[in-house]
């Protein structure tokens, strides 16, 4: 069984080496927008997870591995090659929980059988402007979050800020991809209609 399209956004923090502790990449949040097209109608499912300073750092990795367990037909990412996938790999390679890291990598590896689309490619690839700038340029509402505010949210246990930011990115990744395709007016209209409903609030 496969599901149609998943737009994935992630957030991570690079922790420098300190004393005997080696440097590591912490996956502190992830959000997925799943879009299913069945019997002529489009269904959406928005979910997010985050890990803050008092949580087990492997929790978000385990959550994402579960989400990718059923590989999507199509995986939408922003800056897949140079940011998202390398940061996920780095998070797995530096994780202290090797089993969870291996599980995420295995699911990610299986997801690579899907059609993986880097939405940034139609905006200049690795030379693309920031995601927020592109979303703003396309007239999409967005929730910006700087690295500093991400670090602050992680430090203070502010799950809501991280999840809402990532959920907004996942939705905008889907919308930017739709905008780059021709003849997607009905899908854009369906997305707009869904975004206006309470269902578009992120589900933890």
């Amino acid at each position: 069984m496969t599901i149609d399209t998943v737009a994935l956004s992630t957030a991570w923090i690079h922790q420098p080496a300190r004393g005997k502790r080696p440097a590591r990449t912490l996956l502190v949040g992830a959000a997925t927008l799943t879009c299913r097209y069945r019997f002529g109608s489009l269904g959406f499912d928005l979910a997010a997870h985050s890990t803050t300073v008092t949580d087990d750092p492997a929790e978000t990795m385990a959550w994402l591995a579960d989400w990718l367990h059923i590989p999507p037909e199509r995986l939408l990412l922003w800056r897949a090659e140079d940011i998202v996938v390398p940061s996920l790999i780095s998070a797995c390679q530096t994780a202290r929980d090797t089993i969870t890291a291996a599980k995420l990598l295995r699911e990610l590896d299986l997801s690579m059988d899907s059609e993986v689309i880097d939405v940034a490619e139609s905006h200049g690839g690795s030379a693309a402007s920031s995601f927020d700038a592109v979303a703003h340029g396309a007239g999409l509402p967005f929730r910006p979050m700087t690295l500093t505010s991400l670090g602050e949210a992680h430090r203070t246990g502010c799950h809501g800020a991280i999840r809402k930011h990532l959920a907004s990115r996942a939705v905008n990744t889907w919308r930017l991809w739709l905008n780059s395709r021709g003849g997607a007016e009905s899908l854009i209209a369906a997305t707009d209609a869904w975004v206006a409903t309470p269902d578009a609030e992120v589900r933890p």
């Binding site: 897949a80 090659e81 140079d82 996938v85 390398p86 790999i89 797995c92 390679q93 090797t98 089993i99 890291a101 291996a102 990598l105 295995r106 990610l108 590896d109 690579m112 993986v116 200049g124 690839g125 690795s126 030379a127």
Partner: protein
């Protein structure tokens, strides 16, 4: 059919590769034939250097043309410096033209200390130390042009200028167009080398991962805008999604080995 039992030779993955190409001018011959190589003077040189550190590929792309403060001696010195830093030098017909022209230019300029260039030019044709793709692709038989091979694989080459235009461009003072052209040829040569080495080693990751890194490098560098044809070429479109998969697969392999090691250590500790 029985699979070949012959092991691939010289297919170790080099960690540093230099692809280069030169453009020259020479007095025209009355019969219109290609002038003998000693009459050629190098006027431009292009370098595409690839470095592989644990599967992460980085690139350095540069070209120089004899103009302003840059002399023929600077070109030759730059070639020597770059050749000294890499494991493998590759070119297209370099063994029988580019290397000989550069060595002669060095002697004309009284540059005797250029050991890397001298070593490169003195490499025996069949030794394999210099990966001359014109020879390798033709199995040391009748050579064909770079474009003839690149066209088949989907590598862009000579998109604006061809080698036969260089003399006219040089006379017209269009040094910058020559610089861009020689850079494009060096990058095409690098792509062709990657395709060659992947094919020879039977490992597609040897072309997919460096090609994807090359695309990112070109996208990130503003002064490489003229190389965008490489990002959209058929070989690149094939490589990029596979490179992503190869990156994840390599990481999975590493972490699986780490897990196994941890299991062994646990078993040892409890024994």
């Amino acid at each position: 059919m029985r699979a070949s039992s012959r092991l691939p030779d010289r297919v170790r993955t080099p960690s540093t590769i230099l692809a280069y190409d030169i453009e020259t001018i020479a007095p025209r011959l009355k019969d219109g034939s290609f002038p003998p190589w000693p009459t050629h003077r190098p006027v431009a040189i292009g370098f595409a250097e690839a470095r592989n550190r644990g599967g992460d590929w980085t690139f350095d792309i540069e070209a120089m043309v004899v103009a302003g403060d840059t002399s023929e001696a600077d070109l030759v010195r730059a070639a020597d410096q770059r050749m000294a830093k890499v494991d493998t030098v590759t070119s297209f017909n370099g063994a029988q033209f580019d290397a000989l022209v550069l060595r002669l230019a060095a002697q004309r300029e009284r540059l005797w200390e250029l050991k890397a260039l001298a070593g490169h030019a003195a490499t025996p044709r069949y030794s394999g130390e210099h990966a001359d793709l014109a020879d390798l692709y033709a199995s040391f038989g009748r050579k064909v042009g770079l474009a003839a091979i690149c066209d088949q694989i989907g590598i862009p080459v000579k998109t604006d200028v061809a080698g036969s235009d260089v003399a006219a461009l040089w006379q017209a003072g269009e040094a910058e167009r020559i610089r861009l052209y020689v850079m494009e040829d060096a990058v095409a040569t690098m792509c062709l080398y990657l395709a060659w080495s992947a094919s020879r080693a039977g490992d597609e990751a040897l072309v997919t991962r460096p090609m994807a890194a090359l695309a990112r490098h070109i996208q990130a560098m503003r002064d490489l805008q003229h190389l965008h044809a490489f990002i959209d070429c058929a070989l690149m479109r094939w490589c990029r999604p596979r490179a992503l998969r190869a990156d994840v697969a390599a990481a999975l392999e590493q972490i699986t080995a780490k897990l196994r090691r941890e299991e062994d250590e646990r078993a040892f500790a409890t024994a």
